[in-house]
């Protein structure tokens, strides 16, 4: 008959009976949140490292996608969301293409970035792009030098987008306001000043 494996130290036994890696501030619910947003079962990762081996960011930084996958499963929420390396993924999807478990590590990273943003942890450039879209409808808006070049090409100075049709901007702002994106971007940027 199988004997249940146990330790003499009752406290330790209790900790280790928890099948999740146990540290006081690990959040077992974290991986569930990440999987819900990323739409990929990240806990299926068996840590083969194909992702890090495929990653263009890995050879030139301390960013390790495999490590992020593991930390997510272990619920190391604080550590993951405050790690500056989280923002070094170029979203090239090489890891996702090659993952032998058919997971999407890229989307797992995106999910963790979304969760970081909810706690106001986000690089400034992302917020500035959001502000530009709110103002103009474009992340990279037109400028005078480009308008002159467009005219020379026989194009109109402003393209047939929100640039030529600003009447579409209120609708776009309504969508962004629905998610309080502009409000949050303005606030976080101001707090960082």
């Amino acid at each position: 008959m199988a004997v249940k494996k146990d330790y003499k130290d009752q406290k330790l036994a209790e900790k280790l009976r928890d099948r999740k890696y146990y540290i006081p501030d690990s959040n077992p619910g974290f991986i569930k949140e990440v999987e819900k947003i990323g739409q990929t079962p990240a806990h299926m990762c068996y840590q083969c490292g194909t992702c890090t081996g495929s990653c263009p960011s890995a050879p030139r930084s301390s960013y390790r996608i495999r490590l992020f996958m593991r930390k997510a499963v272990l619920g190391l929420e604080e550590e993951v969301l405050t790690d500056p390396d989280l923002w070094l993924c170029t979203t090239c999807y090489s890891c996702t293409d090659r993952c032998p478990r058919d997971l999407a590590p890229t989307d797992t990273i995106m999910a963790m970035r979304n969760l970081a943003f909810k706690r106001d942890i986000v690089p400034r450039n992302f917020l500035k792009t959001a502000q530009l879209i709110y103002q103009t409808g474009h992340g990279v808006p037109n400028n005078d030098a480009n308008r002159a070049a467009r005219l020379k090409l026989g194009l109109e100075a402003d393209p047939e987008t929100t640039h030529k049709h600003p009447e579409y901007l209120p609708g776009i702002r309504r969508i962004l306001d629905h998610y309080k994106l502009k409000e949050n971007a303005d606030r976080i940027l101001a707090e960082g000043e």
Binding site: I37, P56, S57, R60, S61, W87, L88, T90, T91, C92, Y93, S94, T96, D97, A104, T106, M110, R113, N114, F117, P123, N125, F126, L127, K128, T129, A130, I133, G137, H138, G139, V140, P141, N142, N143, N146, A149, R150, K152, L153, G154, L155, P159, E160, T161, T162, H163, K164, H165, E167, Y168, P170, G171, I172, R174, I175, L176, H178, Y179, L181
Partner: protein, 299 residues
């Protein structure tokens, strides 16, 4: 007129606002092979999948869906010229068509601006329409060439967001695809292979804005690999990759002290040259890296 194909032309940001020659070339070159690109009025940024997807995927879905709905109202499929736009517009369209919960959530928001995503149109990258024999095909493309790019070696950068993740797309092999090389060969140029062809340009995911030196280091690796095979130019199908390779070379020079001088051309600019468009008609003077060495070989 009957065998012409019409699409709502989704412009994105970088092409119309930084490399307008790509926009002009796309309209003219497509018309020459039977594709009419009609303006998609009031379209916005796709929105940038790295910048927006990273901070709030729900905003990304809703904003991209709004662009798709504009085309639904025109009752027309979308054609576009940028991999980043492809990821946003194609992928959101695809996801909303197959995920009712997601679609309902997006439609709740779109209702506030009297719009509804119905899932009635498809989204295409112009390059795949050129390759598709039912629409254009290599033969027709080659027939449209009036100034073959004979004697030039052209390398292809596929970029990431057109074909990857391969499981969710329809382009087949993503490790060593060759279909854009076929599009290049149709213009009379010699496509050249190089090390690590599928590597990212380095700019995506917001990394260009977050850590420029990191992004440029990835770009620089590509430049090294391209020099090894003596490419005369690099062609791509993504204006954001073009920006990273073109302006990036100037930034690489400033930051790393290496000068490559490799001309970068969007496939539609290359096609424009092969169809006899002049450098002025393509606004090639707006490129940060002088295209002249490449032009000398063909003009």
């Amino acid at each position: 007129m009957s065998n012409r194909h019409q699409y709502a032309f989704f412009l994105g940001c970088i092409a119309p606002n930084r490399y307008p020659g790509i926009e002009a070339a796309s309209i003219k070159t497509s018309a020459n092979v039977g594709i009419d690109l009609l303006p998609l009025k009031g379209a916005s940024c796709c929105p940038a999948p790295g910048a927006f997807g990273s901070i709030d995927l729900n905003v990304w879905y809703a904003m991209a869906a709004r662009n798709v709905v504009l085309a639904e109202q025109m009752k027309m499929d979308i054609a576009l010229i940028c991999n980043g736009c492809y990821k946003s517009i194609w992928e959101v369209n695809h996801k909303l068509k197959h995920n009712d919960e997601l679609r309902d959530g997006v439609n709740e928001v779109l209702k506030e601006i009297d719009m509804e995503f119905k899932g009635t149109v498809d989204v295409w990258h112009l390059a795949e329409l050129y390759y598709d024999p039912k629409i254009v095909g290599i033969e027709k493309l080659a027939d449209s060439v009036t100034r073959p790019l004979t004697g030039t070696k052209v390398a292809v950068h596929y970029g990431c967001h057109l074909m990857k993740p391969g499981k969710e797309r329809h382009f087949g092999d993503t490790e060593n695809p060759m279909w854009i090389e076929e599009l290049v060969a149709a213009l009379g140029a010699e496509p050249v292979q190089y090390r690590n062809k599928m590597q990212c340009c380095g700019a995506g995911g917001g990394v260009r804005g977050y850590d420029l030196a990191h992004a440029l280091d990835i770009t620089n690796e590509k430049m090294i690999n391209l020099q090894e095979v003596g490419a005369d130019a690099l062609t791509e199908v993504c204006p954001f990759c073009q920006l990273q390779y073109d302006r990036g070379q100037i930034e690489i020079e400033e930051k790393f002290g290496v000068s490559w001088g490799l001309p970068i051309l969007h496939y539609n600019e290359l096609l424009g040259l092969a169809q006899g468009m002049s450098p002025d008609e393509l606004a090639l003077d707006l490129h940060a890296i002088d295209v002249e060495p490449f032009l000398k070989k063909i003009l």
